[in-house]
């Protein structure tokens, strides 16, 4: 029974661990993905109107950017603990904390994307009779996508890493497995959960990159033309 031995000898890599705890690993991964997805989507839902507000009223820029940066200086561990009296031991607590962190990156990403839209393009669209709503959705947002997606990718990847800290309140996805394994120095569990966490970040980043390519077909056409010419 060489397989069982690796649990007894506490090896770093242990096939028997993967086999017997696959359900536990799957559950933790699902929780991790759920918390990350909810945090980034909610973060985007908050960051987008905030960025539009800042753009419409540049005087607010200092206050909004300063506040979101200030949130970034509060340690994740502290932020989760501080929200505890308000939200209790729940996933909502971890999601709220992560949303607050993602705002720094996302607001800047949306603003950078919108700022990169050429003024002539906007003028042309206005000249063609586009109202500000249609201009935003049909001209500015598609052109802002590359910078916006860069922000979303960065926020997603850092949220996946930070979710592990949610294990302080028992809602850290793969972080829970790491925390559980610490007191007994259970190497296989710590290593497996850590590797899964990194794999999750890489996968999410690649998927978002793929999504960006799908959403901006014109940039590929332009690249192909430039290459062919």
């Amino acid at each position: 029974m060489a397989g069982t031995n690796c649990l007894v000898t506490n090896d770093w890599i242990c096939g028997e661990y993967l086999r017997t705890r696959s359900q536990e690993l799957a559950d933790a991964t699902v929780q991790h993905v759920g918390i990350t997805a909810a945090s980034v989507l909610l973060g985007l839902a908050v960051a987008f109107p905030l960025a539009l507000l800042v753009r419409a009223r540049p005087r607010l820029a200092g206050a909004v950017l300063g506040l979101t940066t200030l949130l970034y200086t509060i340690p994740s561990l502290a932020l989760f603990s501080l929200l505890l009296p308000l939200l209790g031991l729940s996933s909502a607590l971890v999601v709220t904390g992560l949303v607050l962190y993602s705002l720094t990156i996302l607001v800047r990403g949306v603003l950078a994307g919108l700022a990169a839209v050429p003024a002539e393009t906007k003028e042309a669209a206005r000249g063609m009779g586009y109202g500000s709503g249609r201009l935003l959705w049909e001209v500015e947002l598609p052109l802002a996508l590359p910078a916006l997606m860069a922000g979303i990718r960065m926020a997603t990847v850092s949220t996946i890493a930070l979710t592990t800290v949610g294990s302080i309140v028992g809602r850290g996805g793969l972080g829970n497995l790491i925390e559980d394994a610490l007191p007994t120095f259970f190497k296989a569990q710590v290593l497996t959960a850590s590797v899964l966490c990194v794999l999750l970040a890489v996968t999410a980043d690649l998927l978002l990159l793929g999504l960006q390519r799908l959403l901006t077909p014109w940039s590929r056409i332009r690249a192909a033309r430039a290459g062919g010419a």
Partner: protein
């Protein structure tokens, strides 16, 4: 707001500041691990980033590294160290984890800072007969300084804030005040710990901004 009053009274109680688990001792630990990690990260990342920027090579690597830094789950890295023989090495696990976390932004900013120096200026300096070393010291480095300082500031603030995670694996620093309060359901202590770390991070940011202003003169 009862919590605010209770937090204030926690912070103003002298007993909470003294002893092994008091604020002063935890602050000293926090400054020690953050400072050591930042210095080590600078020693590795700045020369490499500046050199790559000067050569104009390794750009993709340097730029992509900054995303890698954000992807590092510091808690997972610390936990890995704590179940390895490194756990008996005092502050080493925390410092190494923080160095790994701080290198990417420093390297990226150093590279981009040098790389984004106006090519026309660089060509002009070359045309005046400056050697590679003179060009680097006299032109590229001064013009890259704002970018370098931005990298240093964001790395320093993130290291100070992230060093609290060390407490989750039983290492020292101000995070211990938070976890200790957390374990005994002592909300004022948790708030006090969070406030102390946030203040420290802001103080570090302010000091670096001040140092940058002095350098510019």
């Amino acid at each position: 707001m009862q919590v605010v009053a209770d937090t204030w009274s926690w912070l103003t109680t002298g007993a909470n500041w003294s002893g092994e688990s008091g604020v002063w001792h935890r602050l000293a630990e926090h400054l020690y691990v953050s400072g050591a990690a930042l210095l080590l990260a600078c020693a590795v990342a700045l020369p490499l980033g500046l050199w790559l920027g000067h050569l104009g090579k390794g750009g993709t690597l340097a730029v992509n590294l900054s995303n890698v830094g954000r992807a590092i789950p510091v808690f997972a890295v610390l936990a890995l160290f704590m179940v390895s023989p490194l756990r008996n090495a005092g502050y080493v696990p925390t410092v190494v984890a923080l160095v790994l976390f701080a290198i990417p932004p420093l390297l990226t900013h150093a590279y981009v800072g040098v790389r984004e120096v106006d090519r026309a200026v660089v060509e002009a300096a070359r045309g005046m007969g400056m050697s590679g070393g003179q060009l680097f010291r006299g032109v590229e480095l001064p013009l890259a300084r704002p970018m370098l300082m931005t990298g240093l500031r964001s790395a320093a603030v993130q290291v100070v804030a992230t060093a609290t995670i060390a407490a989750m694996v039983g290492q020292g620093g101000l995070g211990r005040i938070i976890t200790a309060g957390f374990n005994t359901y002592d909300t004022p202590q948790v708030v006090a710990g969070a406030v102390l770390v946030a203040l420290l991070a802001l103080l570090v940011e302010a000091l670096l901004v001040g140092a940058d202003r002095l350098l510019r003169r």
